[in-house]
Symmetry: C2
Subunit: 471 residues, 2 copies
């Protein structure tokens, strides 16, 4: 049995906690997978690199309506893949070797571990580790849905035609055709990437519309746009998957009972991600779990046991957070770090205004309440929308689908939700996040600053001006 | 002699003043040129439409480094031109007919007018107009430099090879080659448009670097980038222009006295714009003028006569403003409108944090002080820069030249300047404008809100975090 001052499980955002302020502590870091976690290796970062290449291809293909006759001769998928992973993989290995070799006070266990007691872990190699304090940052994992004919072990295996987001970006060749199972953001981003690069795309989702957790206006508009590029099947209950030498087949049942069979070269499973507390056997540590598998934490990121916050065990990121978002995990990691360093003055997490973006086509960004949520909360609100096509930069873009939708509290004038679909949504939403975070009301935001003419943020300005607020 | 309650000279931002709150007043509107002014007809709006087409062409041409092999077969210049002006010209004529025909209390004089007395105008057609109150919103005009061989009457004439921004976007054909005289933002935008669309580009500027009013770091980086795409000649004193049947020739003298001759199909004059108060004979109205030709106004946009603010004459926009920017003119128009409606409670203009963007390649946006200005003001400041290439979205863009430079007051922690060169600079600067306008300090701005990972605004976040500020 080896005892440490601190054990950190997981090297996504968890890897940012131990800095030189921890030099006097003995630390164990446990990582069964890739150093850097989901975001770096299979999530945000590589996907956005693929997305931008997809945007370039799409821009070239769509150029004629701007009076430019460009065409795409071809896409060098292996070059795209090597550019992305040639950049990322060294970061993974550098992070691993830095932690493993350069820090005398840190020991890395590159293997699985489980709680085998309240404050005891046992590694796959049989080592028993204890510690004064623990940080659980074990993240989440791809859900493999339970479908007839779908062998979980085959997903992402070498030569397999069935992949998840863990492996699909490392395919040897660009598939000629692909079926994506899922209607969430991973499905939307991957379908965009592959279809823009030239893969014939079919999307199959259990419900409707696509991206149904977005504000309904956004989800509906997005689904319309998706149908123009992809073969979209909604309200589809997938009943069977079959793989053959030349591809995959998927059967689904519609609401009316009819069964449809779809075929493609490759199948991508994008049914979401599950927090990994169960694999850690957090139950053996007496840690409370939510019904959806998340570890329960308080506002200081302390885990709960029997409803009581534990001073010696913290959790952060996907393993406990309702937001499977890197910027939230990073924030929670900073909170945990602060609370490890100064346990007498605990810092609370700020989950008030958590934005997110979907890097699909058209791009989507949102923060705060959807209109449905505002309605369900009984809020008194005003709503305004403004089209990209109604501002000068939208004319330049020849945009016909983008819009901004804002919700504000009728009494206070504060923004309570912002939803954007259109080019660079993830960029132009930032002033709205800032206004919400610092309590700047919508009218002051519109009138109290300059908006560069004719830059795209004018679409935000105009939506703000439309909010029917007093004063 | 016809007397009005109000005369508005100019229909750029000035055209927005008269709304239904002026229905009880008799109003004359004087416009010698195009309705809608520079921005709509020859400035911001058409240029940005051309710029986006240029971006599309450039993206296609640069695609190979993203693993996408696209190429540009051709550019349909007449289609681009018709798309732009097919959209803009009807707005001009609709604006004209609305003002001329649909408002019983408004008379439009589509002709030149000059002050022929302190409160008396005479139109080119010989009508004498007086009014209780005047709004001077006559804008600015292209400067035609005094160069040997350059006939001002030939600039922009049908069939001429010499153009200004007033006419160059309406050329019949895309020139094979072009010389741009000028090193400011109009030169930078037009050179970008034409070169990206396929014109061989030469830029000749009197001083160095290009865009020398920007922060020096921005101007220098931009000049380096420009040299990669254009033939750039700096510190060049143009001494002669010659036009022949097959093109134009330009002679310039370098600092060492050497004379160089350049040749191209087309010459674009981009030496700046001059306020038009002189053409109005504002001197006859006793209005004070700055040395640079601007009408002098106070903070309520009232013109000055002998240093005294006049309650009955307002000015706004390029004719009086040190900022030749549409968003400033619009702001000043709202101020003038408010002060016409409620003269007993005057509203002041807010010129504290005026941003601007240059839609060239790479794009540039800035607000507040340059480092040189901060230094000259004796400010105690800290500075930080962060490269696009050092954030995840910059990796996706494969950006190697973009950066953000921030200046903050060392004592207050408030931002005093922000300068961005790189993709979508005009979008990602908005949160910085907002922070400066509402007094949000740099540290709070960085830490007190979420920044979507991995969206481009992270480059702002990281620059903020680098500012060496206490607390």
């Amino acid at each position: 049995m080896t005892h440490y001052d601190l054990i950190v499980i997981g090297t996504g955002s968890g890897n940012s906690i131990v800095d030189d302020r921890f030099d006097d502590l003995s630390v164990a870091i446990i990582e069964q997978g890739l150093f850097g976690g989901t975001c770096l290796n299979t999530g945000c970062i590589p996907t956005k690199m693929f997305v931008y290449a997809a945007e370039v291809a799409r821009t070239a293909r769509d150029s004629s309506r701007y009076g430019v006759d460009a065409h795409v001769d071809g896409v060098r998928w292996p070059d795209i893949r090597e550019r992305v992973f040639g950049r990322i993989d060294p970061i993974e290995s550098d992070g691993r070797s830095y932690r493993s070799e350069r820090l005398p006070n840190v020991t890395v266990y590159p293997e699985h571990a489980e709680f085998t007691g309240r404050r005891e872990l046992t590694t796959a190699g049989g080592r028993v580790l204890t510690a004064d304090r623990f940080v659980i940052a074990a993240g989440s994992r791809v859900i493999v849905p339970d479908i007839d004919g779908l062998d979980a072990a085959a997903v992402g295996a070498p030569g397999s035609r069935i992949h998840s987001s863990d492996t699909v970006m490392r395919l040897a060749e660009l598939p000629g055709s692909m079926i994506v199972l899922g209607g969430g953001y991973i499905a939307a981003e991957m379908a965009h990437v592959f279809s823009a690069l030239g893969t014939s795309m079919t999307v199959v989702a259990r419900s409707a519309p696509l991206l149904r957790h977005q504000d309904a206006a956004i989800a509906e508009r997005f689904t319309e746009c998706a149908r123009e590029s992809w073969d979209v099947h909604l309200n589809a209950q997938v009943t069977a998957v079959r793989t053959g030498s030349d591809g995959v087949e998927v059967d689904y049942r519609s609401a009316d009972g009819a069964v449809t069979t779809l075929a493609a070269d490759t199948l991508l499973l994008a049914s979401g991600r599950r927090p990994s507390g169960d694999l850690l056997r957090a139950d053996n540590a007496g840690i409370d779990m939510h019904a959806d598998g998340r570890i329960a934490v308080d506002e200081f990121q302390r885990v709960l046991s029997g409803g009581t916050a534990q001073d010696d065990v913290f959790a952060l990121g996907d393993v406990c957070s309702p937001y499977q978002l890197k910027h939230v995990a990073n924030h929670e990691a900073r909170v945990v770090q602060a609370n490890l360093i100064d346990p007498d003055h605990l810092t609370a997490s700020d989950h008030r205004y958590v934005p997110s973006a979907v890097f699909t086509h058209p791009q989507i960004a949102s923060v705060g309440l959807t209109e449905q949520e505002a309605h369900d909360d009984g809020r008194s609100y005003v709503v305004a929308t403004h089209d990209y096509g109604a501002v000068a930069y939208g004319w330049a873009l020849e945009d016909t689908t983008g819009f901004v939708k804002l919700l504000a509290d009728r009494d206070s004038g504060q923004l309570i939700g912002a939803h954007i679909l259109g080019p660079e949504a993830s960029m132009i939403i930032q002033p709205l996040i800032q206004a919400m975070s610092f309590g700047l009301d919508a009218k002051a935001m519109a009138h109290g600053q300059y908006w560069i003419h004719p830059a795209l943020p004018e679409v935000i300005e105009n939506a703000l001006l439309k909010l029917d607020l007093p004063g």
